[in-house]
């Protein structure tokens, strides 16, 4: 018994010793890995496994009133090459291995991107010449999805790809001057892209995830460090179909008459919304280089001009609102009028003294007749009316770099300017301001804020930045009605009656032929011809205001009248403005 006790004890001891040795070995190894080399090992492993990914937020879209996309975001891809690794490689096609040399690969890439193989090889060679260890050069920037897939399928090992979100303008030049454009880096440069950048801008987010050696994401390892924020959409009041039509009509006539530039504004009378603002020349934001730099903006907002005779409607409305005249008030209009303060006013063409009513002054567009009516108001009173009509202030549209025009204080008016402002010279307005004047007259004397953007719509549908829709009563409703009636007579009886007639409809309109300043205190030989009007005259719905600058082939308002006729016809047709059938007023122009 003593022997077996001893042997069993020895066995026990031996086993325990062996166990302790093994465990000790493991402990040492464990301490070594977990404590001594812990940081280096885990840093190494994370560096190999963890991937940081940019999650792109997309820039907001610019939409028209009906939701048509005027500016949107698309994903484009940059094709990059690693020049130092650009060597020949083997490609397996249907189990057959072929060797592809660099020139062959370059030619294959070029076939997709539109470059030649030599150009691509030159890119690689230039990069290596600069830096023999160069690992990065662009082959082609911003290729679209189909091209990207085609190049990706070539399986060229020394190419990499990067995503590059980019702007696309599906309708081309339609509303191009309004929408603006972005630079190749995505910076907004003009138009609504720039003015509404706060609404449109997006933020990229990032996420990290860990992946195994074969590239598969390890489950439960995605960590979003920053959430991406998409931009909000800008909803404009423009109707893109009408905008397209108006741009065509304007461009056609502007080219026929040889105009330097032109614009057309179509505004809704009862809401103040701009349904079309066309500029000539127009810019296609997809390819801005096709247009001269000075034509890439919207002159309707940024180029004020002396409005000329279309401004007479404002003067006539002011005089009637002040109770100093009616459409039948009588005056004698000579060719040249020399008022007491020393100014010199004359009409556009020589004529004997005419016996005109206020209506007739507008029909004949007589400067002298207008002066005799305008001087019934003091300069300050006329200035106040002009300010309330919006002259001299930026409109409420919010377009970037919009000009307010020039309207000097009445005490700064010299004697000639005091009279010139009665018929639209000696002050400047933009096309928007002229349209707003006619909108006020058409809307019973209530001026509504000019609206281009109706709001900024976030992804969840909430609308912010909705503009105010409060109107101001500038002249009385009866003064507005009287002025509208007189303008209807102008349309009916004026010298362009055959050109701008829209059969079946009652239209109110006025022409303007203003001299353009030469920048040195005098005027050039060219004219800025314009037509502004609204229809239907008894219950006006839309204002159309056309301006053409220096139409060398036809230097009178007859140049812009056909545009007015076409655009107003289309507007009435599109918005189903049915003629009421009521008879036109019968105001006589002479006595």
């Amino acid at each position: 018994m003593a022997k077996t006790n001893m042997s069993s004890k020895r066995r026990i001891v031996a086993t325990v010793v062996v166990l302790v040795a093994i465990v000790g070995l493991f402990v040492v190894r464990l301490v070594d890995i977990q404590v001594v080399r812990a940081e280096t090992l885990s840093a190494d492993s994370l560096g190999n496994r963890s991937v940081e990914n940019t999650v792109y937020g997309s820039r907001g879209a610019i939409l028209d009133a009906n939701g048509v996309v005027l500016a949107g975001t698309v994903m484009r891809y940059d094709v990059q090459v690693s020049p130092r690794n650009a060597k020949q490689f083997t490609r397996t096609v249907d189990g057959v291995k072929t060797t592809v040399t660099v020139p062959e690969a370059a030619a294959e890439i070029g076939a997709v991107t539109g470059q030649t193989g030599e150009q691509i090889e030159a890119i690689i060679a230039d990069a290596l010449a600069d830096n023999p260890n160069s690992d990065f050069a662009y082959v082609s920037k911003k290729v679209d999805v189909d091209a990207f897939r085609a190049i990706y399928d070539l399986e060229i090992p020394w190419l990499t790809f990067a995503k590059s979100p980019s702007r696309v303008y599906p309708n081309g030049s339609v509303a191009g001057n309004l929408v603006g454009f972005v630079s190749s880096e995505g910076e907004a440069q003009a138009g609504l892209e720039r003015g509404q950048d706060a609404c449109l801008a997006s933020e990229n987010g990032s996420e990290t995830y860990e992946r195994g050696a074969d590239g598969v994401r390890l489950p439960e390892s995605t960590v979003t460090t920053d959430a991406a924020v998409d931009g909000s959409d800008v909803i404009t009041t423009i109707d893109s179909d009408l905008q397209f039509f108006v741009q065509q009509a304007l461009a056609e006539q502007a080219q026929t008459t040889g105009a330097a530039w032109g614009n057309v504004v179509v505004q809704e009378v009862k809401t103040g919304k701009l349904v079309a603002v066309a500029d000539y020349p127009s810019v296609d934001p997809n390819d801005v280089s096709l247009t001269e730099a000075e034509d890439r903006g919207s002159r309707a907002f940024t180029a004020p001009y002396e409005p000329g005779s279309t401004f007479k409607a404002l003067t006539a409305a002011s005089v009637i609102d002040a109770g100093l005249a009616t459409p039948n008030s009588q005056v004698i209009a000579p060719y040249r009028y020399l008022p007491a303060n020393g100014a010199n006013v004359n009409d556009s063409s020589n004529h004997p003294d005419l016996r005109l009513t206020l209506t007739g002054v507008l029909i004949n567009s007589s400067n002298t007749g207008m002066s005799k009516f305008g001087e019934m108001l003091s300069d300050q009173q006329r200035y106040d009316y002009m300010t309330r009509f919006g002259v001299g202030h930026v409109t409420e549209s919010g377009f970037p770099a919009e000009e307010p025009g020039i309207l000097r204080q009445p005490e700064d008016w010299d004697n000639q300017t005091a009279y010139a402002t009665m018929f639209g010279q000696g002050l400047t307005t933009t096309a928007l301001q002229v349209s707003s004047i006619y909108q006020t007259i058409a809307n019973g004397g209530v001026r509504l804020p000019v609206q281009l953007v109706s709001g900024c719509r976030a992804a969840d549908g909430t609308i912010t930045n909705a503009p105010s829709e409060e109107g101001t009563q500038v002249i009385s409703a009866s003064a507005a009605r009287d002025t509208a009636d007189m303008l209807e007579m102008v349309h009916q009886e004026g010298y362009l009656a055959n050109v701008w007639d829209i059969p079946g409809y009652r239209v109110a309109a006025k022409t303007g032929t203003a001299q353009m300043p030469d920048g040195e205190g005098g005027y050039t030989k060219g004219y800025l011809v314009s037509v502004s009007g609204f229809a239907p005259a008894d219950d006006p719905q839309y204002v159309v205001s056309v301006s053409l600058a220096d139409p060398v082939n036809m230097n009178s308002s007859a140049a812009s009248a056909p545009i007015f006729q076409e655009v107003m016809s289309q507007v009435l047709k599109k918005y189903r403005a049915v003629p009421s059938g009521a008879a036109a007023p019968d105001l006589s122009g002479s006595w």
């Binding site: 189909d146 696309v168 741009q247 003629p579």
Partner: protein
């Protein structure tokens, strides 16, 4: 204690007073004590414990294989989602390009349609014509190229595509369409007036049924 369980128990060691009783009882039968069956269950317990541990380990391995399999599936689905997303992008870009007004106008002209700038309304309830209708003179022909769209460069017209196109694009085809359209316009006007004379309106004009 790793004793030999089958060892015969010495009567002395076990029950010291048994000998007296044996001596007294004289014919106490001494048997070899069979190995107690209670010993076996200990092996079973050990085996079952080991088996359970093994089963747990195996189950854990299978679960992690399953999760990893899921990760591979997710990766494959993600990849196909990206591919499908790219296809959707490509196709929707084609769609917005084709639905641009320049494309529509050029294709309409190529198909022989003519625009009309004098508005007239037709009231369906009684067939009354409001406004002053005139035959379409196609005065907007060719004007679409004045408002260009550089996205359409190289995109063939509908008529060219169905004819197995020679590649005349939307942009270039407009002047040819301009020549074709005035020829089409008198034909359209003639058939229009003939049709108007033939149909007498009785109970309102037939309205199209739309779904």
């Amino acid at each position: 204690m790793s004793d030999n369980l089958a060892r015969v128990l010495n009567a002395h060691e076990l029950r010291p007073d048994a000998t007296e009783r044996a001596g007294a009882g004289a014919q106490r039968h001494i048997e070899i004590v069979a190995p107690s069956k209670k010993a076996r269950p200990r092996v079973v317990y050990a085996l079952s414990a080991v088996t359970c541990v093994g089963a747990i380990v195996v189950a854990q391995l299978l679960l992690s294989v399953g999760i990893s399999q899921g990760a591979y599936e997710i990766s494959a689905l993600r990849a196909s989602q990206v591919e499908l997303g790219r296809t959707a992008d490509s196709v929707s870009e084609d769609l917005i390009r084709v639905s641009s007004p320049q494309s529509l106008a050029a294709n309409a002209e190529a198909l022989g349609m003519v625009s009309n700038s004098t508005p007239a309304m037709l009231r369906l309830s009684d067939g009354a014509v409001l406004g002053a209708p005139t035959a379409a003179a196609g005065d907007q022909v060719g004007a679409a190229t004045l408002v260009p769209n550089s996205l359409l460069v190289g995109v063939p017209l509908v008529t060219q595509q169905s004819a197995g196109g020679t590649g005349a694009s939307v942009v270039a085809a407009a002047p040819e369409a301009a020549a074709a359209a005035p020829a089409a316009a008198p034909v359209a006007a003639a058939t229009g007036s003939a049709a108007a004379a033939a149909v007498a309106v009785t109970d309102g004009l037939p309205s199209p049924t739309t779904r």
